[in-house]
């Protein structure tokens, strides 16, 4: 696999996270190229979500560094990392349930604007203009994800697939360079998965880099440009879907060790 230094958007250097004595992830080196769809796979408990949480600042890593877009972002708070241009979704959907669909996306798109107390109370011209821009942008992402007709519905009243899509729209509204999706297709039916794949490709066309955790192998093999495989917190393989499929270690991790003695 080619590793072009200038083309790397996210790089983790020997990221390690331990909980008590347990090594959730150990010395993981990850390279994410700009503009690609990268998949992170591995059996349950391999440390994929832990890695996500380290990258997005929810867990401070025990060891190692995270370089995003040429900047060291290790130890930054999640909201600061969001500002640097990284957005994520969650394995178990985390929407603002009692807010409308539109408001959910507004929260995302207001991330690029300053919040001032005086602006809020005086509601001056500048604040008004900014509010208008924010809602303009939110509408754009509503349309992009095909949720326009639900704009004024409460988020909790959406169907499961639409809730997943809303989470995506909300993340996109923060205008990220890198989008991290934690099992976006989990619990979706065939049609919904197909729709999701279309959407992910559409996001790629917008030149947003994607890193996703996914268990649906058919989907991963179809859309991913590169795949990284984790097992027991250690990176065991990386490469194109074809390379990974043939990798002995990967087969072993998923299916089990071949018996030596017959």
């Amino acid at each position: 696999m080619m590793l072009n230094k200038n083309n790397i958007l996210l790089e983790t250097k020997n990221i390690t996270k331990t909980f008590g004595g347990i090594h959730a992830i150990e010395d993981v080196n990850l390279h994410i190229n700009k503009g690609e769809i990268n998949a992170l796979i591995g059996p349950n408990g391999a440390g994929k979500t832990t890695l996500f949480n380290c990258i997005t600042g929810f867990y401070p890593p025990t060891k190692g560094r995270i370089i995003f877009n040429g900047e060291d972002i290790t130890g930054l708070k999640p909201h600061q990392i969001a500002e640097t241009g990284m957005a994520r979704t969650f394995q178990n959907i985390r929407l603002f349930a009692e807010m409308t669909v539109m408001e959910n996306i507004l929260i995302g798109s207001q991330c690029r604007y300053r919040m001032t107390l005086l602006g809020a109370i005086l509601n001056d011209k500048r604040t008004k203009n900014e509010e208008r821009e924010i809602s303009r942008k939110a509408l754009q992402y509503l349309r992009f994800t095909g949720l326009s007709k639900f704009a004024n519905h409460l988020a909790r009243n959406l169907s499961y697939g639409d809730q997943r899509r809303l989470e995506l729209a909300r993340a996109l509204a923060t205008e990220p360079k890198l989008l991290l999706l934690d099992e976006p297709a989990a619990g979706m039916n065939l049609n919904e998965t197909k729709g999701l794949m279309e959407l992910i490709k559409k996001i790629k066309d917008e030149e947003i880099t994607i890193l996703l955790i996914e268990h649906d192998m058919r989907m991963v093999m179809k859309i991913a440009d590169t795949i990284t495989v984790l097992d027991h917190g250690i990176k065991i393989a990386e490469g194109t879907p074809k390379e990974v499929q043939k990798n002995e270690k990967v087969i072993e991790a998923y299916i089990g060790r071949r018996r030596r003695t017959a």
Binding site: T56, K77, R143
Partner: protein
């Protein structure tokens, strides 16, 4: 229907048993009978509820803001001429009702918007009142200089309380804030050299402006109306701003809010500080009106009442909280004729409201976002979903 009957039967029976030791069996039976009458009235009303709600929602959705504005106008006129069409007693009750509106709206920022359960809110009321009392009697500053200072003092205390509780949620936060409220009261009660201990501070000066020194109840009434309008205006603006949205997002899901770039620490401290500053203003007003403050006015019970106003009215809803405050002040006053039983009736009313309207008087209504007409048009054209088109 069946469930409502069960609720009423259970609720009334429970209240009946509860009141026997206080009222004696005969009076408790009267009480039970009155509850049954109330239940019958409820069931007569019930079949029409949907119609009433329909009419209500239609009225709210009318593209004629003129109706709403004329309603506000009538209320405003009534509020303004109140001292001339009633006596001093009613003016005083109304003054205290509006003071509590200010308090409840302040607490609503913390509890309703940001979702931080604060059981020690009265502490900030006390800080405001004592700041006013001390700065006015010891430093001799005027009302207009001291009132903002009381708000600032309360806000500082809000941040001091907020800081150690940032990582706490729900029950734990409630316990810590409760402790903080008691700490402030006990400090005021024991720090004799500064606060005068249980005797409090006497002879606080009232406000004076343009040669008019405030002495009549209606002077204070108009003053609190100005403060009340300012509070409603500010809280409403906050609610509709990025800050308000960020608070609600934190209430709904802290982790997701953080991932969306919201600075949780800053926003929570801002909620505590702003909520407290309104209590500080109310406290300053209270001190200037009463001319006297003592720790007795700032007991835990006050915190509970203010919290009840927020919950009963509808958490996060500004009209709801205003209604809650008005009802909780006027109800006990209007029940004075019942003497000792009034608190029981008051309690019963609260139990019943919570049984039948757990979301509060006006709550759980998410306002439809008002968009620019152009955007509204675009939105209407977008009736098809992206996937519906692509999957053909």
């Amino acid at each position: 229907m069946m469930q409502d009957i069960k609720k009423w039967a259970f609720g009334s029976l429970w209240l009946f048993i509860l009141t026997i030791p206080f009222l004696g069996i005969i009076n408790a039976l009267y009480f039970l009978v009155s509850l049954i009458v109330l239940a019958i009235l409820w069931f007569i009303y019930k079949p029409f509820e949907q119609n009433i709600l329909d009419v209500q929602s239609k009225l709210l959705q009318l593209p004629m803001p003129s109706i709403r504005w004329s309603l506000y106008f009538v209320i405003a006129i009534l509020v303004l001429i109140l001292p001339f069409i009633s006596d001093q007693y009613i003016t005083n009750v109304a003054t205290s009702a509006i003071t509590y509106i200010v308090l409840a709206l302040g607490l609503n920022i913390v509890v309703g918007f940001a979702g931080l359960l604060d059981l020690g809110y009265v502490a900030f009321y006390a800080v405001g009142a004592y700041s006013y009392a001390l700065l006015s009697t010891k430093a001799g500053l005027s009302f207009w200089a001291v009132l903002p200072l009381s708000a600032i003092m309360a806000a500082i205390f809000g941040i001091i309380l907020g800081f150690p509780t940032l990582r706490l949620r729900g029950d734990y936060l409630a316990i810590v804030t409760l402790g903080f409220g008691e700490m402030i009261r006990i400090t005021l009660n024991n720090w004799d050299s500064v606060t005068g201990g249980p005797n409090g501070i006497l002879n606080i000066k009232g406000p004076a402006t343009l040669g008019l020194s405030f002495s009549q109840p209606h002077h204070y009434y108009y003053l609190i109306i100005i403060i009340g309008i300012f509070t409603i205006f500010a809280v409403n603006r906050l609610n509709n701003s990025r800050i308000g949205r960020a608070w609600v997002a934190i209430r709904e899901d802290e982790i997701a809010a953080e991932a969306m770039g919201i600075n949780i620490v800053k926003m929570k401290l801002l909620a505590f500080a702003l909520g407290a500053s309104f209590a500080g203003i109310a406290g300053g007003f209270f001190a200037s009106k009463m001319k006297f403050v003592s720790p007795e006015s700032f007991t835990f019970f006050e915190s509970v009442i203010i919290l009840c106003m927020v919950v009963l009215g509808g958490m996060g809803s500004i009209p709801g909280v205003i209604l809650g405050a008005v009802v909780l002040i006027i109800l006990p006053e209007s029940l004075r004729g019942f003497q000792n039983y009034r608190m029981i009736i008051f309690g019963a009313a609260m139990v019943l409201i919570m049984l039948f309207r757990p979301q509060g008087f006006i709550g759980g209504v998410r306002r439809r976002l008002e968009l620019h007409p152009e955007d509204e048009k675009i939105l209407k054209q977008e009736t098809e979903s992206l996937y519906d088109v692509k999957q053909k």
